[in-house]
């Protein structure tokens, strides 16, 4: 079974530029998550989708971050304009539905450095 796919794996941009990350969840998984993991910290949930609807985006900095999952499958996370403090790993995860935490599968992450 294919895992959660993310791209690009690594990105370096200058502050005030924009960047987009793509995630393809495990086939059939209805729930998709984007987590931000700053170096030395644990992952923090940015946004959670159930199919193509947003379940929780309370910690998404909406002035600069946006995410969509238009057809309930792939998702894109965009940052515009980027700030130095956005340097982090962006982890995408998916699960079959809103069930127990041990059914959440993580991708390998997109590493962002803002200079």
């Amino acid at each position: 079974e294919a895992g959660v796919a993310q791209s690009p794996r690594y990105k370096i941009i200058e502050k005030r530029q924009s960047v987009a990350f793509w995630c393809n969840p495990i086939s059939g998984h209805a729930t998709l998550y984007w987590y931000q993991q700053i170096l030395g910290q644990g992952p923090k949930l940015l946004i959670q989708f159930q199919n193509n609807g947003v379940v929780d985006d309370s910690q998404l900095p909406k002035d600069r971050f946006s995410a969509e999952r238009l057809k309930g499958v792939d998702s894109t996370l965009k940052i515009q304009p980027a700030k130095l403090e956005d340097s982090a790993v962006y982890l995408c995860a998916s699960s079959p539905r809103l069930i127990s935490g041990n059914t959440i599968y993580f991708g390998e992450g997109s590493w962002l450095t803002v200079v």
Binding site: Q41, P43, Q48, D56, S100, N102, G109
Partner: protein, 116 residues
Amino acid sequence: EDKVVQSPLSLVVHEGDTVTLNCSYEVTNFRSLLWYKQEKKAPTFLFMLTSSGIEKKSGRLSSILDKKELFSILNITATQTGDSAVYLCAVEPLNPGSSNTGKLIFGQGTTLQVKP
């Protein structure tokens, strides 16, 4: 605000040592506590704990939950260099109506380095 705190933040041991990692939490509506291992890539699932006092075991790793004192420990015996990683503790809360949220609140992680 729901919170998960891990200690120590980092640990250096030698092969063969036994280590204990700690995780304490404050969550309004608790469903489960999970442990993950992260080696510069995707976090991989280790254990999910929902009941107090029942030890979960997998090889040299074991974990237990105390819902009265709101903490969990992860033990690793006879450590090997391959155990070097960041160990993440996460709590899964319930919605006020006791339905699943499906989301995880993570601690800051414990970085374990095992020296040969």
